[in-house]
């Protein structure tokens, strides 16, 4: 796997790697860093795990790339790949939900915003679920909630740690209250996992907000975050509009939340695999 060229061996997710590589980062293209505007050679950016070599900006990884980063080669076995969202409310909006789903499925080659499965990291068995922000802002609808819940339940049944890599714009409005109920469902599953004395590690990535923050993302035994990630419940604009308050410097960044005591540790992406592995090791009996 040439995607990340360092000495660790990463697993390949069937059918995805080559396809998404072609689509997202066409060969030979230059790319501008979103933060510092530095023009970067796309391949170089990719080799640096999508982290800008100049300013350290952590550009999003796809769920597939994330799984490759955090699992041993060929160890990842996907679960619940067939789950697909449906327009239960027959939502009467600007665009139809069914169309939105189809567009996003085409764009991402995913059925919805979560990729989950069992895997090994440095030989350690665990269950991993990763949210992909490209799919409707990784908003939480019934499928996202169900896949997260099933991943947790599988970990409980198999006596395994669970790692969830979060990113989400919040609720899937098109699913109304069905969306909100996923917050309860996922948290309930985590209670059972915790009651079985099993570890749960959250990796918060940019941006982790709203209903996901107010449910499973904030419930990790360990909560680690990527540098610069936006983490919060209400969005900065809503807060400004509601309270007319001036927002503090760096408000709702991973660094801010480290200082305020929510985040255990900020881990730059290049260290994430090794540090996550070490975290899992400390929980091994």
């Amino acid at each position: 796997m040439a995607l990340f060229s360092n000495k660790n061996q990463y697993s390949t997710v069937k059918g995805f790697a080559r396809q998404s590589k072609k689509k997202d980062i066409p060969r030979g293209l230059w790319e501008k860093c979103k933060k510092c505007s530095q023009t970067l050679y796309a391949k170089q950016l990719e080799e640096n795990l999508n982290v800008c070599p100049k300013c350290g900006f952590h550009k999003a990884l796809t769920a597939q790339q994330r799984v490759e980063l955090l699992t041993d080669k060929n160890s990842f076995v996907e679960i619940d790949s067939d789950l697909e969202s449906v327009d239960t409310l027959k939502f009467e909006g600007v665009a139809s939900y069914t169309d939105k789903l189809a567009q996003n499925q085409k764009k991402t080659s995913m059925k919805d915003a979560v990729l989950s499965g069992t895997a090994k990291l440095d030989g350690q068995d665990y269950v991993i679920a990763v949210m992909d922000f490209r799919f409707l802002g990784a908003s939480m609808g019934a499928v996202v909630g169900e896949k997260i819940t099933r991943a947790i339940e599988l970990a409980t049944a198999k006596n395994l740690p669970v790692v969830i890599v979060t990113a989400s714009g919040g609720a899937r409005m098109y699913e109304g209250m069905i969306s909100l109920m996923q917050m309860a469902k996922t948290s309930g599953a985590l209670k059972r996992h915790a009651n079985a004395n099993l570890p749960y590690i959250v990796v918060m990535t940019h941006p982790t907000t709203a209903g996901v923050t107010a449910s499973f993302a904030s419930l990790g035994d360990l909560i680690v975050a990527e540098p610069g990630a936006l983490i919060g419940f209400a969005g900065p604009r809503v807060i400004r509009d509601t309270t007319q308050a001036k927002l503090p410097e760096g408000f709702q960044t991973a660094e801010f939340l480290l200082e305020k005591g929510l985040v255990d540790k900020i881990i730059p992406r290049k260290n994430l695999r090794n540090e996550l592995s070490l975290c899992l090791e400390y929980f091994q009996n």
Binding site: A171, G176, L180, K185
Partner: protein, 322 residues
């Protein structure tokens, strides 16, 4: 109480005024106006039924937010006796947007917890318009876990536009406070009944909303986002709030159909604010009958039923359908 009339209620108020005028006229002038009065009364009843039976989701949102609607403490006064309010989260402060304490329901000991709005500007500042900070949720959890120790059921009343979106709220981790409540409410070893009595504002409502039974009053709403917020995001214009209210399926009957709530509590015609005592009585009946069912269950059954209640909210295609 000064009356506040919603736009769609105006025909009713007009008729009420007319009826009142005729009554005064006939009394003061000793005229027999019984025919007019009877006709007007009938018309009034008919108009009320006509308007209130055909309310749109957006109109129900207006009723749910009616400034004269009974709030948690009003119901606590009407439904329970011997309310003993407790304060504080033992970590930071007391949040007046959530109230709670022991109370008796027809002599039965219970723990009651609810979000609380203010009636006037001064009280609304104190109650923060019913929008809790993290410490409100932490107080609520402390009291609910205390209920477990006392082995008494938990009754929660939900009426909030949402958890407070503010700097302090974020700094003290409102998301974490709600998340912990969700997780821990699943483990409560006593019956839990939640009643949405007004606004069920998203995560802020759900933060005290994990029950064995979730009930909603007829003119309440429960939504993942306010219609205004949804309109702003999807249509880029708050003027589409009415459309959003319809699309979100946030009304009591829609939610019952989806299995998001387990029962709808009927309200007096025209809304709970027109008759506190009657509204409270309906809540009391509903809570008592649900409680009776739950009290037949063992602790294990209660915890299992609560888990399955939320676990079973599944709306997707799992690939097995042809």
């Amino acid at each position: 109480m000064a009356d506040i009339t919603l736009e769609f209620e105006k025909p009713i108020v007009e008729l009420e005024k007319k009826l009142e005028e005729w009554k005064n006229l006939s009394q003061s002038n000793n005229i027999d106006a019984s025919d007019e009065i009877t006709a007007l009364s009938e018309k009034l009843e008919h108009t009320k039924k006509e308007i209130y039976s055909k309310m749109t989701p957006w109109q129900r949102v207006q009723l749910a937010r009616h400034p004269q609607r009974p709030y948690t403490l009003d119901y606590i006064n009407e439904v329970f006796t011997d309310f003993l309010e407790f304060h504080g989260d033992r970590r930071y402060r007391d949040d007046a947007a959530i109230v709670g304490g022991f109370a008796k329901l027809e002599g039965q000991k219970v723990m009651v917890v609810g979000t609380q709005k203010g009636r006037d500007t001064k009280e609304n500042v104190y109650r923060n318009f019913g929008c809790p900070h993290p410490e409100g949720y932490r107080k609520a959890l402390r009291l609910m876990q205390m209920a477990e120790k006392a082995n008494v059921p938990v009754i929660t009343f939900i009426d909030t536009p949402g958890a407070f979106p503010g700097v302090a709220s974020e700094e003290r981790h409102i998301g974490e406070a709600i998340a912990v409540n969700l997780r821990e409410m699943f483990d409560l070893k006593v019956p839990v009944i939640c009643v949405v009595i007004g606004e069920g504002g998203s995560g802020g409502a759900l933060g005290i909303g994990v029950g064995n039974k979730v009930l909603i009053m007829e003119n309440s709403y429960y939504s993942v986002i306010t219609p205004e917020g949804c309109a702003a995001i999807l249509w880029n214009d708050r003027a589409y709030s009415e459309k959003a209210a319809k699309a979100l399926k946030l009304s009591a009957t829609d939610l019952l159909g989806l299995g998001i709530v387990d029962g709808v509590v009927t309200e007096p015609l025209g809304g709970a604010h027109r008759d506190y005592a009657n509204a409270a009585n309906e809540i009391k009946k509903s809570v008592l009958s649900n409680l009776k069912d739950l009290q037949k269950m063992s602790t294990e059954q209660l915890v299992e039923q609560r888990y399955q209640r939320f676990r079973g909210i599944e709306f997707f295609n799992d690939g097995s359908e042809v």
